[in-house]
Amino acid sequence: MSVILSIAKTTLGEAIRRKVLLVILLIGVLFLAIAPALEALSPRQELTVLRALTLGIIQLTSAVIAVVLTVYMIPNEIERRTIYTILSKPVRRWQFLIGKYLGAVSALGLMMALMTGIMLLVFVVLRKIEGPAELMMIAKVPFAFFIQMSLLAAVSVFFSTFASPIVNFFLSGGVYLVGTLFDSFFKVLSENSTLNPLVKFMATVIHVIVPNFQSFNVQNSAINPGQQIQAEGLMYLGLSGYAVTYIAILLILGIIVFEYREV
């Protein structure tokens, strides 16, 4: 366990110093800070627009960070030969991969916590929140996003065991888009009995394999005052269980590929 934690700690230390990630984070933070000024552009209700906008910024920035953080993780270690000094020690490949993943997720968590903190601060300063209960309600949404991004990072880590960073970027981005925007579409296709069997089969495969990222988009209750999630605790537990299962499967597959990969 100490080996995994050491690798995770080093990965975290390196990730939070990567300039490209800091630039993405800075852009996200800047948008969060100026978001209140943009609300006037929309005719919709001020509060709804502001909350949707800021949460959208956090989600988009986090997704970009999650992918950029992980696509280079394994290829960089190989290119810079750091992997050789590590794997020549009593470190098993699965420990290395899990350590890298945990380090990446920790860095992602830190960056998302920073963005969430800034968003809440903006709300508090501009008096857009009424009391701690509402603050908590909004803060839960980035937590769901964090679980979503941890899953996205696992997708990207899996691809990074065999794909180049550029290919991985598009693969992971594609999986995220399909899982976020088209999951319901593929579900409908897979249940349509009048469809060509081959198309139906393909739709079923995509629907089953691609994680349902859409289910982590729980922002509606926070954006639209008055809406409430039934059995919220159970829902978050279910989401966490779903993500952990998918993450475990992806990491196991990644370990199997990485075990036989020539580095």
Partner: protein, 321 residues
């Protein structure tokens, strides 16, 4: 006592469109415990690939590889070996001391004093709290050596340990490697720095195109010497007459230098030069160097395989045209 390293008919090949490409072919190596072993070869000869197989970083296609009596790649072996790769990179945000702590933690070692002592040993005691990004190449190489000693290894793999270093750093690293032998460690060095290898290695193996072309104790391999003849006022046409088996001839403004094995007749060569009007300046016998052995072994192998050093075969020239 078992060998520190042993390979039997080791083969590593990769698939390509034109068929499998062998990077290592039927490699038989034996490295005794406690010796400094030089593993030499031109670029792309298969040196690093062999080291990676021995460390279990990549896997052989066929054949056997053993390290300290166990199969290469065995995780238990990693507790007793160390590896310093060519041009190592360390996480630049970390200081020398943090790097040591990180690598120590991979062995389960939590001993800050040990890390400091090892950094002192490689003369980095005063710089251990500076980030690696501020270290010179030589300092980074010394950190590499320090981290490779964390587990008090029985066997060290050093890939080009003195490559690209200034003369002072060069000597420091060389001296450290000699100290390792004094401590009873086995050192396996892959290097292009033939003068270093000649000074510190007990035995060497020369690898070319994945195959061992020469292997043995240095004093046995370097038996026999060479003769260097220098003459002035020689005609250019003389070069072709003097060139022969294992004889290198160069000419510059009438000054000719002939480098030949001492088994050849120096008298005959001197007579040929004199007959052409050349004036002999010197005839100097010298001990065979590792460089000579390397050029002979690799040159012979290349000739046997239809390729010359620094020139192309007719086939290759044809392919290009």
């Amino acid at each position: 006592m078992s060998l520190a390293i042993e390979t039997r008919k080791l083969v590593k090949s990769y698939k390509s469109r034109s068929g499998p490409i062998s990077v290592v072919s039927n490699l038989d190596l034996q490295v005794e415990p406690g010796e400094i072993f030089g593993f030499l070869g031109p670029n792309g000869a298969g040196k690093t690939t062999t080291i990676k197989i021995l460390l279990g970083i990549i896997y052989q296609t066929t054949g056997d590889a053993y390290v300290l009596g166990k199969e290469a790649g065995d995780i238990e072996i990693h507790k007793q070996v160390s590896y310093l790769p060519e041009k190592p990179y360390y996480y630049e945000h970390m200081t020398g001391f943090e790097i040591m702590q990180f690598y120590a933690s991979l062995f389960g070692i939590r001993d800050a004093d040990k890390c400091k002592k090892l950094l002192d040993r490689v003369n980095l005691g005063n710089d251990m709290n500076r980030p690696i990004s501020q270290y010179s190449k030589g300092m980074q190489q010394r950190v590499g050596l320090a981290q490779s000693l964390l587990n008090d290894p029985q066997l060290l793999f050093l890939d080009e340990p003195t490559g690209g270093l200034d003369p002072i750093a060069h000597i420091e690293i060389r001296d450290l490697i000699l100290q390792f032998r004094d401590e009873g460690k086995t050192v396996f060095i892959s290097s292009h720095e033939l003068s270093d290898v000649e000074r510190i290695c007990d035995r060497v193996a020369i690898i070319n195109k994945g195959e061992i072309v020469s292997q043995g104790r240095l004093e046995e391999l370097l038996i026999g010497g060479r003769i260097e003849i220098t003459a002035n006022n020689c005609p250019d046409t003389l070069v072709a007459q003097l060139r022969g088996e294992d004889t290198m001839v160069s000419i510059n403004h009438g000054r000719i230098i002939v480098d030949m094995p001492d088994s050849h007749s120096a008298d005959a060569m001197v007579k040929k030069i004199s007959a052409s009007g050349g004036e002999i300046v010197s005839v100097i016998p010298r001990r065979k160097r590792l460089e000579d052995l390397f050029l002979e072994a690799v040159g012979e192998d290349n000739r046997a395989k239809g390729r010359q050093i620094g020139s192309m075969t007719e086939k290759e020239e044809g392919d290009l045209s």
